[in-house]
Point group: C2
Chain length 326, copies 2
């Protein structure tokens, strides 16, 4: 296994690699099983994924960079699997009874999830969908309060900070977008952005569904449950979809569920998608572009399967079988 | 699910589709879950694999056709998995003690496997590897007898028959190839071919390792166990690798096994690879070009996983969970 360290934290990468090397040494394993390569050029990534001895690639990053590496993997003389995680807007559906009963609490929770870690999470809940009415107005007011109170945070790199500022400005500049919060962004900082569109604008401007990496949230105000379902049906692949629902919302939730199951790798109720537990049931993947392999997950115990290949032993003498199969 | 019927047997395809439709009707399932499309153009295949609602493709066929479809799947705006099975020469290793003890029997078994169904099996054992010596001579004599006695058989299509004749002539025409058997091929017929090369020729002419679809067999005569291991290390991905071995061959088998496990989806001892049982342990796949997805199998109960996508339900009310997860 070769890890290309993230160029934003070469020292951390080095410390982690040393810990891995210690475990390898302690376990009496050949140190050749692991290598850390540091660097920050496209050529390095391309050289790694096209090298004949590399047989599979795992990647987390932007749709553009990921697709370029995916294409290189697919074009090899011997194509290899590319397990890429390329972005997600992680929509949160505010079902009407939950919104009426707990709108303020949900707004605070959403703002906290949106701004956690300067919004630098692949599961950042960038889009919220609510049915028009006074409860939606209340949600906007509470979310605006919470996000206004949240100051700018330092991003991992100046590049992430700059890309966030550009992405936020792109959303704010689209006709039909209302801006509720737009904090000042100093260099390498990300301050929350909070925007709103109606469903007509959402459907007319597909670029509103592009991920903005950072604490930018967009509320889509739909007319009714049917329009919420229509929005769900139009979604691209997602890592997560979330329902905020009370018992009285079960009918609408049941209508949304068969749609969302086809859109996302993880469906949450009454939580927020940031925070990915490493557990047997965890799925961190989903239809493209959430991931490039719909059957895979990059978090959870199932993740190791991405790199396994089944072998059938037919009639082999027991002594020749792998110890576990004897 | 859409099946493109093989143009060589449209009537059989129709009968099978009718049986599936009957099962769908009896089960009260929406008939839209299954469709049969008949046709024989490249455009039809291309249209199917690039259609936006198609989300995964299974394919069995030639390396050329399969790679073209794989490339179309990978180049889509939303890339989809292509589970292709693109050819294999299924090498059989004749270990010295087995060859000495049972050479004649193995030769007859190999000839029967090679010519079964006019050699039209993806698991057809096209290459046999033996260590030089009188036992190898004996194998050649017995295999020649058995293959000479086997007449030409009708291939599925005239195209397959013609491609077989070309492939066989290609092998026969390579300098250093000895021809032992070369039966007459009438139109749409395939008569056995049996050829031999030494290891130097095998390593110098990589095209000897290209699949010839039909009853053409090639013996590679190696100098010793080390050269047999070297040949194994140089193999491309295979559906199967077979060891003909007796108890005294266990040392060489143990040396070959870690190499072959990295080359093939199925390792057999003292059998022949034609005949793929549908069983829990079956793997019909392997590294490229045996298959385009090393983690998948197209036969066996694991095959359905190719088309499944895991979904994590986090905190959903029990009533909303799929019945099996309640």
């Amino acid at each position: 296994m070769i890890v290309k360290g993230h160029p934003a934290h070469p020292g951390t990468g080095e410390i982690v690699a040393e810990a891995i090397l210690e475990a390898i040494t302690a376990g009496g394993i050949d140190p050749g099983v692991f290598a850390l390569i540091q660097g920050n050029t496209h050529d390095l990534g391309a050289a790694l994924v096209t090298h004949p001895t590399v047989r599979a690639v795992g990647f987390t990053g932007s749709l553009g960079a990921g697709r370029a590496l995916f294409d290189l993997c697919a074009a090899r003389p011997e194509p290899i699997p590319f397990f890429g995680e390329l972005g997600s807007i992680n929509p949160v559906f505010l079902l009407p009874n939950a919104l009426a009963a707990r709108g303020a609490e949900i707004a605070r929770g959403w703002a906290a999830s949106l701004t956690m870690g300067a919004g630098q999470f692949c599961t950042n809940p960038g889009v919220v969908v609510a049915i028009d009415g006074p409860d939606a107005d209340g949600f906007v007011a509470r979310a605006t309060e919470a996000l206004t109170a949240t100051g700018p945070q330092t991003t991992l790199t100046a590049g992430i900070g700059a890309a966030y500022a550009r992405g936020r400005a792109r959303i704010a500049g689209i006709a039909g977008v209302t801006t509720h919060v737009l904090g000042d962004n100093a260099t390498r900082q990300a301050a929350p952005g909070f925007f709103e569109v109606d469903a007509a604008t959402w459907f007319a401007r597909p670029e509103l569904a592009d991920e903005v990496f950072g604490p930018a949230g967009l509320l889509v105000r739909v007319a009714d449950a049917d329009e919420m379902l229509r929005l769900a049906r139009g979604l691209a692949g997602q890592l997560t979809c979330t329902l905020q629902m009370d018992a009285e919302d079960a009918g609408l939730a049941a209508a949304l569920l068969p749609v969302l199951e086809r859109k996302a790798g993880r469906i949450l109720a009454n939580g927020f998608p940031t925070g990915v537990e490493v557990a047997d049931a965890m799925v961190h993947g989903g239809p493209y572009p959430a991931s490039t392999n719909f059957g895979a997950t990059s978090v959870g115990t199932l993740a190791i399967r991405r790199f396994l290949r089944p072998v059938c032993y037919q009639n082999l003498p027991v002594d020749l079988l792998p110890p576990d199969a004897r």
